[in-house]
Amino acid sequence: MSRVTKFAARDPGPAARMAGFMAHLRMHGLRVGVGEAETALRALTHIQASNPEEARRALKSVCSGCGEEVERFDDLFDSFWLNGGRVRQKVMSVQTSPNTDDVHSSRPAKTVQTGSGTGSATTPDGGDGEAAADGEGKLVACSVQNLMKKDLRDLVQPEDIAEAEAIARRLGAALRDRRSRRRKAARKGDQIHFRKLIRQSLSTGGEPFCLPRKQRPGRPQKIVAICDVSGSMALYAQVFLAFLSGLMRADDATDAYLFHTRLVRITDALRDKDALRALGRMSVLADGFGGGSNIGASLSQFSKTYARRFVDGRSVVMILSDGYDTGPAHRIGDALAALKKRGCKIIWLNPLKGWNGYEPVAKGMAAALPHLDLFRAANRLADLAALEPELSRL
């Protein structure tokens, strides 16, 4: 094999090379440790390690942990072991490592306001300004993808996040009561706790005098929040983004997504300890923020991909959107129907519902209605806080 990497003569041996390979994998985001290195070396003793294809398969089964890693492994293997001595090529990185320039909140925020000029971020296209006029106004979804980068830190204030966090914590607690399928010892319960019963009856000669009980304890529900950040929602983004970051900080199991013309998972970015830096990372991910909206496509993408992994019968999917969609209306209904089949609850919080005399006449919204467990207004943090009693009833 002429392609095999030539290591330097002073290279101390296979163990060191394997350690080097593990470091290479780690650098590219695979989660491998000392344990894997040891297993990998042992694995090589059970095959013909000199055959690259065999070694590749063996190391793949040891070092990869999910389908995504399996797909990337071949390239990583080639670049380390089979590069024929050339410089290692960089394959990759799916890992969310955003541009560090935007991460540090101490640096001056990038506010590039000279965008592509296709519409403004804060007003919808062709709405003639009547949106803000009175209770009967119309917001129109715009189909143009806005490539302008908008920094979310301009929109959200730190004190808002703190307040939102408190509210999110309360909402999370309200959603907490979902029965588990396990049973635990409890003072009152629907089943007899036999193990305890036997123990206690030993002292009374096998006569069970009191019957200890067991019951299904409450369990947290997982919140999956999907927030619309298209142009027509820009006015409300401030509230919702603060709410999202509060939600993420209040509960570890929460999952969050943004969409405009496409869907982005922002869970990892929002987990950042520094609330403002988290927003910075999020704005990098939300490239195209304030552009057109494609709710149907984003939701059906969600139900086909992420939902399969992260949504189950214990999830509450919370959609924050105004329902103005540029795609065909039935797509929203279809996507929600597919999502609903996973057994989750769906809540739609629509900022426009707060307006006087609002009717969900937008076709998309009308198609969504039959699939919703709760459809409420929310355009201020106070509105979100008021949801608490309703959520606990779900």
């Binding site: 989660r31 095959i47 398969r57 089964s61 040891v62 942990g65 999910c66």
Partner: protein, 291 residues
């Protein structure tokens, strides 16, 4: 033993494994590590355990996971009814409390569930933990302990260590994301839908009576069906059902009778939407391409 001979042994049992999968199975056996198999439903993940048990000529112990699965169903439980009866009988015989306690918390009164059973076998069995992602996080955490130590602590009895280390196979199809800790303990293989040659070999191994031309058509049809936008893609088991249906209906060529073909689709398409999406014309077109 070489991994290729392992592959051959699996083929003799009627399981055609891809190279990646055969290597993972070989290493799992050689290193004594659990093997985590992921992939869509119907690609033959569970079947691997059965085949391995046949190759190693050992017992297959299966634990089907579900939400709410707990220690009492997975590991062990005391036989409470027997315990109660024994206590009553002992009280009448005037036995002391201490000796009764000794007796009713002995192995005689222990009901073995799959995990305990697997580590108490004289010969190492194959332990299949099926659809681990259906069980909840609590159970996964418990499983980690069992998989790393191969011992089970029972408060009344002490620690039971493994008499033999079972060969552990875990399967998952993505109902829930598994924890990194569990993934780290296991070797991993992602089982894909087989390519054309592999699937032909599977069909030939399982239904040798299908003629070569028809077999080619069936595989081509099923493979192009998988490329369509379906809610539930047909797996290998569905493909085998379909071939059985085709044989049973006496179809010699898929393109000949559209109505019969449409009827036999019941074995491949399992949701209403999918049935609606694949109309007679589309089925005909796919069959035509396959031919």
């Amino acid at each position: 033993m070489q991994w290729t001979s392992r592959q051959t042994a699996m083929a003799e049992q009627g399981y055609i494994a891809s190279d990646d999968l055969a290597m993972a199975v070989h290493l799992a056996l050689a290193l004594g590590r659990p093997l985590l198999l992921e992939g869509a439903a119907g690609v033959g993940k569970t079947e691997i355990a059965r085949v391995l048990a046949a190759i190693c000529e050992t017992q297959l112990i299966r634990l089907q996971c579900y939400e709410g699965l707990d220690a009492a169903q997975a590991i062990y439980e005391w036989n409470y009814q027997r315990q109660l009866l024994t206590i009553r009988a002992a009280a009448e015989d005037g036995e002391t409390g201490c000796s009764v306690e000794q007796r009713i918390f002995s192995e005689e009164f222990l009901l073995e569930r799959p995990l305990l059973k697997a580590i108490r076998q004289p010969e190492p069995p194959v332990l299949l933990i099926d659809e681990i992602d259906r069980a909840d996080e609590e159970f996964e955490a418990y499983l980690l302990e069992v998989l790393s130590e191969f011992q089970i602590s029972i408060p009344e009895l002490g620690t039971l260590t493994a008499t033999s280390r079972p060969m552990v196979i875990l399967t998952a199809n993505g109902t829930r994301d598994l924890s990194d800790a569990l993934r780290r303990r296991c070797l991993y293989a992602h089982v894909e839908y087989p390519d054309r040659e592999t699937e032909l070999a599977i069909l030939k191994a399982r239904c040798p009576e299908v003629e070569a031309a028809l077999a080619g058509q069936i595989i081509g049809f099923v493979q192009s069906l998988r490329k369509e936008d379906l809610e539930k893609k047909p797996g290998i088991a569905e493909m085998l059902d379909f071939s059985a249906a085709v044989m049973g209906l006496g179809i010699a060529d898929l393109t000949l009778d559209p109505a019969l073909l449409q009827a036999s689709l019941a074995t491949l398409l399992k949701t209403e939407t999918d049935r609606g999406n694949i109309s007679t014309e589309i089925a005909q077109r796919l069959a035509g391409q396959a031919a």
